[in-house]
Amino acid sequence: MSWYEQYRSRYARLKQAGKPFFPYAVFKDMVVVSLILAALCWLAYFAGAGLEDLADPTDSTYNPRPEWYFLFLFQALKFFPGRLEPVAAVVVPGVSVLLLLLVPLLDRGPLRHPLDRPFWTGLGLASLAAFGHLTWSGYHSPLINPTVEKDPLISRGIRLYREMRCAYCHKINKKGGNIGPELDRSAGSGSEEWLAKHLRDPQSVTPNSAMPKLNLLDDEIQALVAYMKSLGEPFTAEAPKLFTQNCASCHRIGETGGEAGHDLSLIGSARDKAFIKRYIGDPSKTNPDSSMPGFKGQLTEVQIEDLSRYLAGLGR
């Protein structure tokens, strides 16, 4: 234990020869703290803190992204698929933290310069590199679900729809009350002018309507109309049959259909009608690697339009 005493007396000498904490160290601290405060204020003022849409527990298409300093953990999970996932999720971080905690008990002895401790310096650098690499690749990894750019007007409409409890009377996507019509089946067929009039004063366009006058503001009506128009256009009863005859051998919707192609149960939440229509007509134009045949010629233009409307409404 002699180097303990040696260290203590050496440190006591160095401390004695050193300078008082105030003002020497305090001055440096103040300089750094001022810079940090300036940077914080700059970021807070110009970048601020984001706020996305209200949490929607039913939205299965959202791409969860953690804060950047947890990204490495997300990325590490991908190396341990299936039943090994707990290893990456819990075992590796747990062991790492324990190791970190115990570093002073593992690396003992008087040597402190990084070049005199090649093992520990190397381990530290390797951990840093791994963290950096995982964060970098996590940041650039493709999103699990394709991102859908939602029109802010539509988002506002969704929010109003929820705030005003429209679902008390109306159904969208099979959820809501029975008093009013199912909006994703009917609202899309009305023109924007008709919808706006209806929202302003239901009885003026539908004399027997049970819907109350809501005294909405113009921009609220605009938002609700945008939301209604986004619910999709009506399709005929033919469309699901067309799907069964032409698509179901490869694609599935819900429980029925083939396995060769993608599951289309939620396709409407990721792709709009125009995209789907293009794709059905000639897949190779949009995706050169696709093995799906084009249906232009095989189906009429009207049938493809009908089918696209049907698919675009799925999972919305």
């Binding site: 904490f21 305090v26 703290v33 791409n63 707990p86 310069h113």
Partner: protein, 227 residues
């Protein structure tokens, strides 16, 4: 008057012990690395202050959380700015704490007699992570909700105790009102109390042992740290 206060509080001796204590001289640019601990402490104070201001207008229920955050951002005087400070302060906190830890790690400053100082520091880093995880959920927007859903699922994968941990975190089997109030209680009551205690121990140890000196290369003749 001042002497009267000093006699009854010992403030003069506290000042002497904290501020007039000597610190080994660190020459060159490496001396600036010794400011990272103070910087972390400063950002913690910023977080405490902005956090207290935010808590005055925040409502921790799923029905009102999102709207209260919108209210803070749009309506409260300087609300958006204070929320921005708290948001970016969280990132700064993590970065500064980690940089501080790297400085101590690569300089071997965790060695005798500062082993326990290091361990309390690791605890502080874990607490900071806890703050970040619980704070993320509070705005109750899409990002908040889904990041927490994934986080609690990860915790739920712990062998044997995973189910219990996940239920304790969520306050039930599903994420909802209980999750939000629970995270809020952790974020503003439990974690701050723990952090304050560990910070005090950490600071006490730093002052008690003195700030470590810059490491020197081993001398050729085998003497570990020179004369």
């Amino acid at each position: 008057m001042i002497a009267w206060v000093h006699e009854r509080t010992g403030l003069d001796r506290v000042w002497k012990a904290l501020f007039e204590r000597h610190v080994p001289e660190a020459r060159g640019p490496a001396a600036w690395l010794y400011t990272l601990g103070s910087a972390s402490l400063f950002v913690f104070l910023v977080q405490a202050l902005t956090g207290a201001l935010l808590a005055m207008s925040y409502a921790p229920t799923p029905d009102h959380a999102y709207d209260s955050v919108r209210y803070i951002t749009g309506q409260v005087a300087l609300g958006g700015f204070i929320r921005g400070l708290h948001h970016w302060g969280a990132s700064f906190m993590v970065v500064l704490a980690v940089l501080h830890m790297l400085r101590v790690y690569f300089m071997g400053a965790y060695k005798y007699p500062r082993e326990i100082t290091w361990m309390t520091g690791v605890c502080l880093l874990l607490l900071v992570m806890g703050f970040s995880f619980t704070g993320d959920l509070l705005p109750w927007d899409q990002k908040a909700y889904w990041a927490t859903a994934v986080g609690t699922n990860i915790a739920g994968q712990t062998p044997v105790i995973g189910g219990v941990v996940s239920r304790v975190l969520k306050g039930g089997s599903e994420m909802g009102a209980a999750t939000l109030t629970r995270f809020y209680a952790f974020h503003v009551l439990v974690l701050p109390a723990l952090l304050a205690m560990v910070v005090l121990v950490h600071l006490f140890l730093v002052v008690w042992h003195g700030i470590s000196e810059l490491p020197e290369r081993r001398l050729q003749d085998g003497d570990p740290q020179g004369p």
